[in-house]
């Protein structure tokens, strides 16, 4: 799966980029929510959009926009609906999703995110934060999307639950070739869990590339108001202040090994 966006113009934004189903893509910067909304294609922007070589235009746009879903920061419970099943049924109706066996699809969606199908009749308010996040992802799968955009998905989760959600997202990428986008300003999360990153600033793409290499441009990022993960900053200071030859790592244990080698 690949989405090519060329010369996109909308709400003062202008950008060109390619999003691939081979990557977990992070998007960060103070206006990241705005670019997530544009990528969500709730309105057709100016410019050229190709999804796997099919050009998206006014005529076929409605077929495609269901193929891109956004998982919001929090679960938005619909007032008069209570259970997971009620929410799923509502959305299937609302988006006119063509599903042959609705119950099976709903159960399968829960299964993909590692939840038991008996949960369908559970009240949304009785779910834990991590269950809610999984249910949000399960609901997003009902339309069989090509791209899933997650808005700050981890802020209420501890690292055990973060890892579980990441396993689900990796599975969606590996087995189902979906494009996964994580928008957040938490640089530690981006550094640990994404392999491609897009930095946005002043309604433009400021920098994009491999996550690890991009974060190594510490001076450049800091000068432009972006945060850098502590583990990167520490390595950077050691290299810059003490001229030591240590490598940038993702795991703190690798840094410890480097330091130990260096001082002995």
């Amino acid at each position: 799966m690949e989405i090519v966006l060329e010369n996109i113009k909308m709400n003062d934004w202008e950008f060109t980029t390619t999003l691939s189903g081979n990557d977990i893509i992070g998007i960060t910067g103070s206006e990241y929510e705005e670019i997530l909304d544009i990528l969500n294609l709730k309105a057709l922007p100016q410019g050229e959009i190709k999804i796997d070589d099919n050009i998206i235009n006014k005529d076929n746009y409605l077929d495609y926009y269901k193929k891109i879903v956004k998982v919001g920061k929090d679960f938005t419970k619909i007032n008069y609906l209570n259970t997971i099943k009620e929410h799923m049924d509502y959305l299937i109706n609302y988006y006119h999703l063509q599903i042959k066996n609705i119950e099976k699809k709903e159960k399968d969606s829960l299964k993909i995110v590692g939840l038991d199908s008996s949960l369908l009749d559970r009240d949304i308010t009785s779910l834990s934060n991590s269950e809610k996040k999984k249910v949000q992802i399960a609901i997003s799968l009902l339309s069989n999307p090509d791209m899933i955009i997650l808005e700050d998905p981890f802020s209420s989760l501890d690292n055990k639950n973060r890892k579980k959600i990441m396993m689900i997202l990796n599975k969606l990428k590996e087995q189902f070739h979906k494009i996964i986008i994580i928008g957040t300003n938490d640089c530690e999360i981006l550094y640990q869990y994404t392999n491609k990153i897009i930095f946005v600033k002043n309604k433009r793409i400021f920098l994009e590339g491999e996550t690890k290499e991009s974060y190594e441009r510490v001076d450049y990022l800091k000068r432009n108001g972006f945060h850098v993960p502590d583990i990167v900053l520490f390595t950077y200071k050691a290299i810059k202040k003490k001229k030591v030859k240590i490598d940038y790592h993702k795991d703190i244990r690798d840094i410890i090994k480097d330091i130990y080698k260096h001082i002995n």
Binding site: S155, S156, N161, N185, L233, F234, K242, V244
Partner: protein, 264 residues
Amino acid sequence: MELLEVNNLVYENLFNQLSFQVDQGKFITISGSNNCGKTTLIRILSGQIEVDNSIKLLGMLKEEYPQNLWKEITGTIIPQDNPTFLFQTIEDELNYMIHLFIKTEEEKQETYKEIIKKYKLTKFQKKNPNEVPEFIKIKLLLAEKMLGSPQILFLDDICQGLEEKEQKEIINLLRSLQLETKIAIIMTTGNLNIALESDYLLIIEDKQILLEGEPLTIIEKDNVLNKLGLDLPFMVDLSVKLRDYNVVDKIELDMDRMVDTIWK
């Protein structure tokens, strides 16, 4: 005498014989993995959930207080309940709340000015409080709660989802409130970087208090906290691991000093 005492709190299958005390003027953080009961504990303390014979404030059992009085001497903020504001602008909202507590016109105006300055709300006075960013809502809620001069604040993870800079501002605000009014603060958080800023830290696990004490002495127990799914602040994690290798002999929170210590 302690300000607040929780004695052998039992609630459903979340808490069993949970006990702790809070002294006047102290800033306490409570942490633990997802679903350990942090939010429920705040709901119990605030009175949203009733329990028997386990909570004393100023030596008197909670159920001996008339309900309004308990609300007057405590202030609770639970952001996930999406508290809503009554008025269309922050200015109107604040002025209404001020008028409930302050008599003379002159004092009202003075208080309004002080709040706007202290909570850095100048730019938002004419904005709709229900539509401003979460960070501004939290500050407004804090300002409103403080107008009633409570003895203690119960805050449920009010820093969650905020940017690091915003989290720091909230912590500084809480610290200054604590200094000026001798108020005690109980705040839950999943982020140990925030817990590090408090006077005392409690870790809940398996229905009880697992660890309690001065935050740094708790946070350096890396094995226990990692098992719970809590991330150690990077500098604590690095110090603890380097100490195991005899590279450093104490916890160093300052990155530059750490670099200088390792590579003299």
